[in-house]
């Protein structure tokens, strides 16, 4: 007894195949959308800003005169900010991830920490700004320093790093750990010598994505109140500074037309920095990616 009418099935086949092909096309189009937007964005910004982009632009401080305006303070400031955010957020993020993946027992505290982290990932950046202002700038009297802003930003991007690192640590094959334990290595030795090295590509990818977010954020820094114009560079993490996105935002709000082009040039610098960081991530990912 046959319950399935084979000719019926055969008749439907071409339609199913066609639907599959059409959807494949749609999925591809959707993927293109992102790429097209990126292309348009880049095209517009480059055509507007490329004229202003020269050595002077990188070496000058901000100025009221568009032709003399430069991005030095903001660029160096952003790099200083990253120099605080990167180690702090990576250390805390990876530490937390190791704790959650390797040490934490299944109890309510662990569950609470996990829920808490995924919730923090969704807290608006501006709320972190309010936190930074109250805790770092005021309570800890760090003033509007690189350190205060860096710590604020670190907390902001921490969840991203934690989640990425957790994934990376979880993906390290069990048998590598077993091999290490099997030779009498302790837990921490195993983590330090086997798990972390194997998880590094994933951790760094997450880290760089987090830093890309930190480098482009404006709102929390506005709230923290870091200054916009300075014509000197920070010497220590306790000095004040300014960053690229704030400088760019300020230029865009100037009445003079030329400042719009200066802003575009600033955006190009920011994008180059961003792409530079992303390509490091991709390089690391591709270089260290081991097939287990």
């Amino acid at each position: 007894m046959k319950l399935i009418n084979k000719s019926h099935v055969a008749k439907k086949m071409p339609v199913r195949l066609a639907v599959n092909t059409i959807c494949k096309g749609l999925f591809f189009l959707a993927t293109l959308i992102g790429l097209i937007v990126l292309a348009i964005l880049f095209y517009r910004i480059f055509t507007q800003g490329i004229g202003h982009l020269n050595g002077d632009f990188l070496q000058n401080f901000a100025s009221r005169k568009p032709e003399e305006a430069g991005i030095k303070a903001a660029l160096i400031g952003s790099i200083w900010l990253m120099a605080v955010v990167a180690p702090v957020s990576l250390m805390l993020g990876v530490g937390t991830a190791i704790y959650l993946e390797e040490y934490a027992r299944k109890n309510w505290i662990t569950t609470f920490i996990k829920v808490n982290i995924s919730n923090l990932a969704g807290v608006p950046s501006i709320v972190f700004g309010l936190l930074g202002l109250t805790v770092f700038v005021r309570a800890l009297a760090l003033d509007r320093s690189v350190l205060a802003a860096g710590l604020t930003m670190s907390l902001l991007v921490l969840p991203v790093i934690i989640v990425a690192s957790q994934e990376a640590i979880r993906a390290v094959p069990r048998d590598l750990r077993e091999a290490s334990f099997g030779m009498g290595a302790t837990k921490w030795q195993t983590i330090r010598k086997v798990v972390l090295p194997a998880a590094i590509p994933g951790i760094l990818t997450g880290g760089i994505l987090a830093l890309s977010r930190a480098i482009g954020e404006t709102a929390p820094l506005v709230v923290v109140g870091i200054p916009l114009f300075i014509a000197f560079l920070p010497q220590t993490v306790l000095d004040t500074f300014t960053v690229l996105p704030m400088q760019i935002y300020n230029w865009t709000s100037r009445p003079q037309e030329e400042f719009q082009q200066v802003a575009a040039a600033g955006i190009i610098v920011l994008l180059i920095l961003l792409i530079f960081m992303n390509s490091i991530a991709v390089l690391i990912r591709n270089k260290f990616q081991k097939r287990y």
Binding site: E178, A179, K290
Partner: protein, 275 residues
């Protein structure tokens, strides 16, 4: 069902050639009344087994019978699985290793392990071998070099890799990787080596090489090997334990097990009636 087995029951399926061990040498492991549960699942039931120095002990049995579970208990690797409970005793050189005061790191420094799938670290061949010694605090470069050479020679892979010690271990073939894992294990100069189906992921040639190696190694070490390949057990072991559903059905000289099993189920298994 159109299947009949023509062979008579009396003639054992596979005659074995393992040499009978001379008298009973010193005991390395003594397991008594070992029970183990995975949560609710009673995976090992009242295991009683003794293993001897400079012998190869094979553990055979169908899939899921508890072979891996048992061998992982011998170096307490089983603790990595959450929710495992054990009762009973396993004495290694006269000390009960299931006693929590027994440091696992100590135990595992004495008892090396080789796994089913070769699992080298994604590091250079050299770094793989010195991983254990370094972990145990040996820093001296010259000593480390000596350890590497000795271990790789011991694992019969020195000639193949001596010119590429600093290349990544992932560039080796499966069989080479497995021998590297054995070398890595030899590097900590263990007393006992546990092997869980060390050849099941390998091609015939590599398998043969490893089998020969095991025969070599037993001069210096005691070896416990899990295999689902009865022929392999017959070829290389001195004693064989047959596990079924978490119980030891029969444990005897390999010769005896394969030529004259006492239990009907052992016979059924080795004659290929199931498994």
């Amino acid at each position: 069902m159109n299947m009949t087995l023509t062979r008579e029951k009396e003639s054992p399926a596979i005659a074995t050639g393992a040499v009978q061990p001379a008298a009973s040498p010193e005991k390395v492991y003594e397991t008594s009344y070992l029970n183990l549960w995975y949560g609710e699942n009673h995976a090992l039931k009242n295991i009683n087994l003794d293993m001897h120095q400079n012998e190869v002990t094979a553990i055979i049995g169908p899939s899921g019978c508890g072979k891996s579970t048992y061998i992982k208990t011998l170096n307490r690797m089983i603790e990595l699985v959450p929710d495992v409970k054990t009762t009973g005793q396993i004495k290694y050189r006269n000390r009960n290793i299931l006693d929590q005061s027994y440091k696992v790191e100590d135990l595992r420094t004495q008892v090396g392990m080789v796994f089913q799938k070769p699992n080298p670290f994604p590091k250079s061949i050299y770094d793989n071998v010195v991983y254990g010694p370094r972990t145990h605090g040996i820093k001296n470069k010259k000593i480390l070099d000596q350890i590497v050479e000795k271990s790789l020679k011991g694992a019969a892979i020195w000639n193949e890799v001596k010119d590429r010690l600093h290349e990544n271990a992932y560039g080796l073939s499966g069989g080479q990787q497995q021998r590297l894992c054995i070398a890595r294990c030899l590097a900590i100069e263990p007393d006992v080596i546990l092997m869980d189906e060390p050849t099941s992921a390998l091609d015939p040639i590599s398998t043969l090489k490893i089998e020969e190696l095991v025969q070599e190694l037993k001069k210096d070490f005691s070896i416990i090997i899990v295999t689902h390949n009865m022929q392999q057990a017959a070829r290389i072991s001195d004693r064989t334990a047959f596990f079924l559903n978490g119980e030891v059905i029969e444990y005897a000289d390999t010769n005896t097990i394969f030529s004259n099993p006492t239990d009907k189920r052992t016979e059924d298994y080795i004659t290929g009636r199931f498994g």
